[in-house]
C-alpha cells in the first residue's frame, strides 16, 4: 500500500482538517472541534496556532480571504482532502477488523 507520508494524522490534525471543510478562522475551528468531538477534544490556543501554521506549510490548508481583518481564515486544500480521506480509509480498515473480532466473540 502506497501510504501518504503525512499518515497517520494526529487527532488534532484530523479534526482541524475536518473542521476546515467549511472555511473558518482559528477560534471557530477550536469551537467546532469541541462540538464535533462532544467535548472530548479541546485544542489550546498555542497548539492550534502551531498546527495551523504547519498545515499551511504542508499545503494541506490555505489562508483564504476573510471578512474579519483581525482574524485570518483558512480552508482545506485538495491535498488536505486527499489526506483526510486516506486517513479515514486507514481507520475504517482498523475499525472493520476490530468489529469483526467483536462480532466473532474474540474480543
Amino acid at each position: 500500500m502506497n501510504r501518504e507520508k503525512h499518515l497517520p494524522l494526529t487527532e488534532t490534525t484530523f479534526y482541524i482538517l475536518l473542521a476546515l471543510i467549511q472555511p473558518s478562522h482559528g477560534y471557530a475551528v477550536m469551537q467546532k472541534i469541541e462540538e464535533m468531538s462532544e467535548g472530548q477534544v479541546r485544542i489550546a490556543a498555542g497548539t492550534l496556532y502551531g498546527a495551523l501554521e504547519n498545515l499551511v506549510r504542508q499545503k494541506q490548508i490555505t489562508p483564504v480571504r476573510s471578512d474579519d481583518p483581525r482574524r485570518k481564515s483558512y480552508a482545506i486544500t485538495d491535498l488536505g482532502r486527499k489526506i483526510l480521506k486516506a486517513d479515514c480509509q486507514r481507520m475504517e480498515h482498523m475499525v472493520m477488523l476490530t468489529k469483526t473480532a467483536i462480532g466473532e466473540g474474540r474480543l
Partner: protein, 193 residues
C-alpha cells in the same frame, strides 16, 4: 488530547524573576503567566495570533512582532489552564527558542571570525601593556600627576585590548542558550506526560 497539563514544565528557568520584575501587579494578584516564543514576519500574522489567544481567553500582556517572547494571562472566561494541549506543541516552543538563539549566534559568528582572522588583535600590546596608553608623555610623569593620568586612561586601555572578547563571549553565550533550550526540547518530547 483533552489532557490538562499541570504547571510543571511550563515555566522557563529564570522566568520567575523576570516576571516579578516585569509584571509586579499580575504576580501579586496570583494570576499565572503563560509564555510562548514566536516571531512574525507580517503584522497581520501577529494580529491574528494575538486575536486567537484573546478569543480563547488569554490576554496578551507583553511581546512584540519580533520580540520572540510572548506573555499571556488568563482572563476570567477561559476554560483552559494551559496554552498548549499536547506534548509536541509544548515542546515545540523550546525548539523555536533554541532556533532563535542559534540565529543570534550565527549572526555574530562572521564578525567574530573576521576580527580573529584579520589580525586586528594586537598581540604585542598584550605583552607590553604600555603600548595601550596613548597619553603623550605619560610614562615620564611623576607621582600624583602620573597616577591621575594613568588611572584615568586605564579603563580605555582595557577596552582597547579586551573589546574584541565581546564577540566570542556573546557567541558562546548564545550557543549555550540554544543548547539549553534544545535539551529542554528533547527532554520534553521524551518525558511521559
Amino acid at each position: 488530547m483533552a489532557q490538562r497539563n499541570g504547571g510543571a514544565g511550563t515555566r522557563i528557568y529564570g522566568q520567575e524573576h523576570v516576571q516579578r520584575l516585569l509584571f509586579p501587579q499580575i504576580r501579586a494578584s496570583g494570576e499565572e503567566i503563560r509564555i510562548d516564543y514566536r516571531t512574525f514576519t507580517k503584522s497581520e500574522d501577529f494580529q491574528d495570533y494575538r486575536q486567537l489567544f484573546e478569543d480563547s481567553g488569554w490576554r496578551h500582556i507583553s511581546g512584540t512582532k519580533n520580540s520572540g517572547v510572548q506573555y499571556f494571562v488568563r482572563t476570567g472566561d477561559s476554560a483552559d489552564d494551559e496554552i498548549f494541549s499536547d506534548r509536541a506543541s509544548k515542546a515545540g516552543r523550546y525548539k523555536r527558542l533554541s532556533n532563535m538563539w542559534l540565529t543570534f549566534a550565527a549572526s555574530y559568528l562572521p564578525i567574530m571570525v573576521a576580527i580573529l582572522s584579520s589580525g586586528s588583535i594586537d598581540g604585542k600590546a598584550m605583552l607590553n601593556p604600555k603600548l595601550l596608553y596613548y597619553t603623550p608623555g605619560l610614562w615620564e610623569k611623576t607621582s600624583l600627576d602620573f597616577w591621575r593620568s594613568f588611572l584615568f586612561e586605564t579603563p580605555f586601555a582595557l577596552m582597547r585590548v579586551f573589546s574584541w572578547l565581546v564577540f566570542p563571549f556573546l557567541v558562546s553565550l548564545y550557543f549555550y542558550f540554544a543548547a539549553r533550550a534544545y535539551f529542554k526540547y528533547r527532554s520534553s518530547t521524551q518525558s511521559k506526560a
